[in-house]
């Protein structure tokens, strides 16, 4: 194949190849080995270090488009909180996160959620908290000012758990499931920053892989205590939760084979592209 032809491969062949290869592990699982990375391990360690009855915020700040990445992360972490007898205040600063959060809570706490005995005392769902960054800061300052009722219309004053936590300083961990803004950076800026710095509310994040490189400086600086990196991070966490508590809601792990295959394919394409580029540049061909 001449160089210009290599540079002009119809992108639709690449899509087709990608589709076929990614579909393959659904029918023939490769069962590739998976190790838990430092960042997912850090989320686990921070959560495991909390004493029982500690209060955790679980913030569903994502939309349907990133459900594949964020849902397994949030679900596995919530399951761990439930098994460890941690109290959970769940909410969403994203409008689309409202129904998605309820969906996740139903999977973890049972289909009858919120009609379960522990609702109001050990778990509360506030639903969508309006205001984006302003809502986040208001919630950090005064929970009742940010949202007067829970997702089901019950005034927060009637919920015992909400009377225990009046501001961000009363929480022991903020778990942020995010795919954009407002997300972890807004928690750092508008909540942690107002309550005495990074140690005030430890923050763990489950994010789409695209945002993780941008979070690393905050992780290195200690402003973020742990990160679940996309689908892979969710899968790693499922592995940890399954190992300790037996996790019946595994979702991300079976999909990681497909992702590995896709990555290998992309790497191959990058190599081919670079070879094509090098031939064009040094072999006397024309650069396209």
């Amino acid at each position: 194949m001449s160089t210009p032809r290599l540079a002009r491969i119809d992108r639709r062949y690449i899509y087709l190849l990608l589709f076929l290869l990614v579909s393959l592990p659904f029918f023939y699982p490769l069962k590739l080995p998976l190790s838990v990375g430092e960042h997912a391990q850090a989320v686990w360690d921070v959560t495991e270090a909390l004493p029982p009855d500690s209060v955790v915020i679980s913030s569903f700040d994502f939309g349907p488009s990133t459900i594949t990445e964020n849902r397994p992360q949030a679900k596995a972490h919530l399951y761990q909180c439930k098994e460890r007898d941690l109290k959970v205040v769940a909410l969403a600063f994203w409008i689309s996160g409202g129904p998605l959060g309820e969906m996740v809570l139903r999977e973890v706490y049972g289909e009858d959620f919120p009609d379960i005995p522990e609702y109001g005392t050990r778990v509360v769902y506030l639903g969508y908290v309006p205001g984006n960054e302003v809502g986040m800061q208001t919630f950090g300052d005064s929970t009742v000012s940010a949202k007067g009722t829970d997702h089901y219309g019950t005034p927060v004053g009637e919920l015992d758990l909400m009377n225990e936590v009046t501001s961000a300083a009363d929480f022991d961990l903020w778990a942020e499931w995010t795919s954009g803004t407002p997300g972890e950076q807004q928690v750092i800026q508008f909540v942690q920053g107002r309550h005495g710095g990074p140690s005030a509310v430890p923050l763990v994040v489950g994010s789409t892989a695209v945002s993780v490189p941008g979070m690393m400086p905050f992780y290195s600086a200690g402003q973020i205590s742990g990160i679940m990196n996309g689908l892979s991070g969710g899968g790693q966490y499922e592995l940890l939760v399954d190992g300790e508590y037996g996790y019946p809601l595994v979702e991300a792990l079976p999909l990681l084979d497909s992702q590995s295959v896709a990555h290998v394919l992309i790497i191959v394409f990058v190599i081919i592209g670079n070879i094509g580029f090098a031939i064009t540049k040094y072999g006397g061909g024309q650069r396209s």
Binding site: R11, R12, L18, V22, S23, F26, S65, T66, I67, T68, E69, I95, S96, G98, P99, L100, E102, G127, Y128, P130, E133, V134, G148, T149, H151, Y152, G153, T154, P155, Q185, I188, Q189, F190, Q192, G193, R194, G197, P198, T208, A209, V210, V212, P213, G214, P217, F218, S220, A221, G222, Q223, N229, G230, L231, S232, L255, S258, Q259, A262, H263, I266
Partner: protein, 267 residues
């Protein structure tokens, strides 16, 4: 009050949701072959649904916060009327006469955000980062711990920060030691962009895998599987693609006359 399960599909409509989901997924993906009426239709439908959902949920959230559930205004807490009135002022955007009133809520929101961001951003993205970099271990027991040793990571971070910043330093010409620093900085930036690209690929693949999972595994009470409809949707896409290929290409409309010419015609 809008029911709390807004945005969730009632169980009795699950079958229709799967049918709709299969067609919507494949119609949208048909864009990868070529833009066609099916992909455009689903795209427009998505935008419409998202707009309606956002409007309904925001309306409900605002009124629940101020009126329903909390009864704040009924209890004499009239300060909650201010944000409601400010929100309504946004609608002056649609009038020519009172358009200036629309600027007030915009100015207030911009002012609040500027005030919030300036204080928060300086602490979180500037001071905390400088403190963390200054505290990187280069000597001592902490620096030699780990494999590779921590001092190596610290050194890479410090060199990376200095050289990447020097790339954006334009006071002097990029020659001599500054030129070397700029060149290293460029490689640091390229490595950063590479990591971001890797993350982007990983994220996009995850979303694609998510859709594939839906198409392969989603079912309605284990008797109707989503993949039953995949061939039907593909045939539909094929028909539409062939139809749009056979359709004569619409001719480009003639350019409208220039404004100056229009004026002349009127005169």
């Amino acid at each position: 009050m809008i029911p709390p399960n807004i945005g969730q599909i009632p169980p009795e409509l699950d079958l229709f949701a799967i049918i709709f989901g299969v067609f919507a997924t494949l119609f949208i993906y048909s864009f990868l072959v070529k833009e066609n009426p099916l992909s455009r239709a689903v795209e427009h439908l998505f935008i419409g649904l998202a707009a309606v959902f956002t409007l309904a949920a925001m309306y409900d959230a605002a009124l629940t916060q101020a009126i329903w559930g909390t009864n704040r205004i009924a209890e004499g807490n009239y300060i909650w009327l201010i944000p409601i009135l400010l929100s309504l002022m946004y609608f002056f955007f649609f009038t020519k006469k009172y358009f200036y009133l629309y600027r007030y809520p915009v100015a207030i929101v911009a002012g609040i955000m500027a005030g919030m961001v300036i204080t928060g951003l300086i602490q979180s993205n500037f001071l905390a980062q400088i403190q963390a970099t200054a505290a990187l271990p280069l000597v001592g027991a902490e620096a030699t711990a780990g494999t590779p040793p921590e001092w190596l990571n610290s050194l890479i971070i410090i060199i990376g920060i200095i050289t990447a910043l020097s790339f954006f330093f334009f006071t002097w010409e990029h020659r001599g030691p500054l030129g070397i620093s700029v060149r290293i900085g460029r490689y640091v930036l390229m490595a950063t962009f590479g990591a971001a690209y890797g993350g982007t690929v990983m994220a996009r693949m995850s979303l694609f895998i998510g859709r594939l999972t839906f198409l392969i595994n989603e079912n309605y009470e284990e008797w109707f599987w989503a993949w039953y409809l995949v061939p039907v949707a593909l045939i539909l896409v094929l028909i539409v693609l062939l139809w749009s290929r056979a359709r004569p290409t619409p001719t480009t409309p003639a350019p409208s006359p220039k404004p100056t010419e229009k004026k002349k015609t009127k005169e």
